[in-house]
Symmetry: C2
Subunit: 405 residues, 2 copies
């Protein structure tokens, strides 16, 4: 994390991926991000993957560098504390990020009464308020039906809509805070997860394709739509992907494999110009046939040797185990990563923010909090409560500390 | 688009998805985003999907609301104009967003000489400078090998890493500009596409899973990992996805289908607690068997009737044609969308920014520019060139206007 946003205080009432990722991105740039959870944890507190003891690696991953405040949100006094923390004074406070239905008294109108310049970012499922999550939004998106070979839908495993939503929220938060710092005006920013999907579909040209052309992109397995890209088996049983988006990349394939003359035969044979993307797409099966034989007769390391520094755009497929255990990018050799002790889990490789800011050096990577770890600190610092008052709140189970204290 | 960022001027030298999406997100919040392209268009100018005339719906989708400046970047005078536009004075100018190798003289050090507080955001493939694109990064991510059924890798179709990268860049841009507005200091922000993937893998807990547990998430088709979620065929040949992340959602399935008692038999039968996510995951095949028969004996509209307002988290699978032609969310009934005339293509449904800001009403959706449409305007406004000077630059083919003028 760096300290770019170190004056900002953001409260998060969240679960799962989107809002937690948005908040974590702010925390990784130095903002004080206070995640409020029910005592005992929210609905994502045990989400998989988990350790053998049931500690969530997922929760730890999405809440790094935040502070944790555990409150009895089912009790009026718990909600009152949440309201006070969200709306506490300070030029760079008064920001709430949420992807959960607001607990009573914590909607925008109510919070704005306590702090007029409040900024509240709220992710909903559908714009009409009906529920939608990454899985259902993805089913509606059309993508599962063009993933893999035609036939049954294939869901993505990466929660891509949630990730986009989290990063849109981070962008929206900074835009709204910029506006407030110039005008003094807060606002509510509302975004629907299904709109993130619909906007992306339009941005990539798929809506225009249907409305202007009356057609839609078909399922073409792992082939690259509108250009050349395909996966191939190697002599030693691995798989590689080879891509040619540009003419330079296309020519590099011929040079690096020694197949230039054979590949050149495909142009006249298929009556296409292989220097164009459309020509390579049209001739993809012929190109694939030539390259498949070459790959099948070379080992993965021979292919690597032939392609390195050749200008060929390519890569190995690898599984999670191979990636984590043998890809040097996934190690402490990459400044993105540090070995960090995560309370309740142990020491493992954690990423920081995937951006390097030259004016703000990358500081230490901070783990996720234990649930309720910062309850006392937040109550004292932000609300100015005394130890006696904090003790009473614990005794009455209005707040929770680490270890269910 | 709204006017939240209307004082910002951002220059983009870009191609494909990531930097164009980042820049477009800024433009959709009112920033003046000037995309510089070579005369005749960059390497993404004909990217699919395209119209029958070859106009790129993809390019139009990713460059909405920007201005287009066409320059001979292969000539010193063309690069000099780019440098001058990027580093032109003004408190909220001096921001360059790029995902291409910098043309000579347009690297950070050179630009900083012309404007000391320059902010430059630069997306690279790998951190070491080697090439990587969404397709190769995805191959390395491990996700293709757990998508669909185990066996051959299945690539995603949504360029999810590029989309994440574009939105990280948007966030980084606003953070760097916030820092500059407080300190006067510019900076270079460098991000690697492969780091976006690695960070996401860590954020979701997959790196910890390998390092702490020594295991990795397997390929489980469309099942939801660690909870219950599966797709089912309906009596009329459609498919639906049904999810139960929370206990409430789980119980709603039993109530809405009338299968509560039968589903309750699964707990003792499989010796699991179905009120937990882990229990439902363990028993997913038994749950799936009961639900599959129910779905197969109900039509899609019967299922819709049973599930609407029932608390069940579910959705239909639909293809791009169904989505665009019959999903009301993908229509002018959704304020996200407007019918817009795109020069060279025609009138079709275009999304704006997928966020609503209460303090800044959603303004009209602006189409993408024609290539070079704003060349003259940018040269006059930003650089103060006279018509005579602009005429000479056209005559000498240093700059290009719309229609190759």
């Amino acid at each position: 994390m760096n300290r770019l946003l170190q004056d900002l205080r953001i409260v998060e009432i969240s679960a799962f991926v989107a809002a937690p990722l948005g908040g974590m991105t702010m925390a990784q740039m130095g903002a004080d991000v206070i995640r409020i959870d029910p005592i005992g944890g929210g609905i994502d507190y045990a989400r998989w993957p988990v350790t053998r003891d049931g500690a969530s690696l997922y929760w730890a991953g999405l809440n790094k560098a935040k502070r944790s405040l555990a409150l009895a949100l089912d009790k009026p006094e718990g909600r009152e504390i949440a309201r006070a923390v969200i709306t506490a004074p300070g030029a760079a406070g008064g920001i709430l990020l949420t992807n959960l239905p607001p607990p009573r008294g914590l909607d925008f109108a109510a919070l704005k009464k306590a702090r007029d310049d409040l900024i509240m970012l709220r992710l909903v499922g559908n714009r009409d308020g009906s529920a939608a999550v990454d899985y259902t939004v993805n089913a509606a998106s059309g993508f599962p039906l063009v993933t893999g070979q035609a036939g049954a839908p294939v869901n993505h495993v990466l929660p891509a809509w949630d990730i986009a939503a989290g990063l849109y929220l981070a962008t929206g938060l900074l835009a709204a805070e910029r506006h407030r710092s110039r005008t003094g005006q807060g606002q509510e920013v509302v975004a629907a997860l299904s709109d993130m999907m619909l906007a992306t579909l339009g941005n990539l040209g798929y809506i225009g394709d249907v409305q202007v052309n009356g057609t839609a992109r078909p399922a073409i397995g792992n082939d690259l739509y509108g250009s050349f890209g395909r996966d191939f088996a190697t002599a030693d049983g691995r798989r590689v992907i080879i891509i040619a988006l540009t003419r330079r990349q296309w020519r590099a394939i011929g040079d690096a494999t020694g197949l230039r003359d054979r590949l050149a035969m495909i142009g006249p044979m298929m009556d296409v110009d292989l220097d164009t993307e459309a020509g390579r797409y049209e001739a993809r099966d012929a190109i694939g046939a030539v390259l498949a034989r070459w790959c099948a007769s070379h080992t993965s390391s021979e292919i690597s040797q032939a392609f390195t520094d050749s200008g060929v755009l390519w890569g190995h497929f690898q599984d999670f185990l191979q990636l984590v255990r043998s890809d040097p990018r996934c190690s402490e050799a990459n400044p993105l990563f540090a070995l960090v002790d995560q309370p309740g889990i142990g020491r493992y490789l954690m990423p920081g923010l995937p951006m390097d800011f030259s004016a703000e050096p990358r500081g230490p990577t901070r783990p996720a909090p234990r649930l309720g770890e910062h309850t006392d600190a937040v109550l004292a610092e932000v609300l100015g409560l005394s130890s006696a008052e904090i003790g009473r709140l614990h005794d009455e189970r209005i707040v929770g500390g680490p270890g269910g204290r």
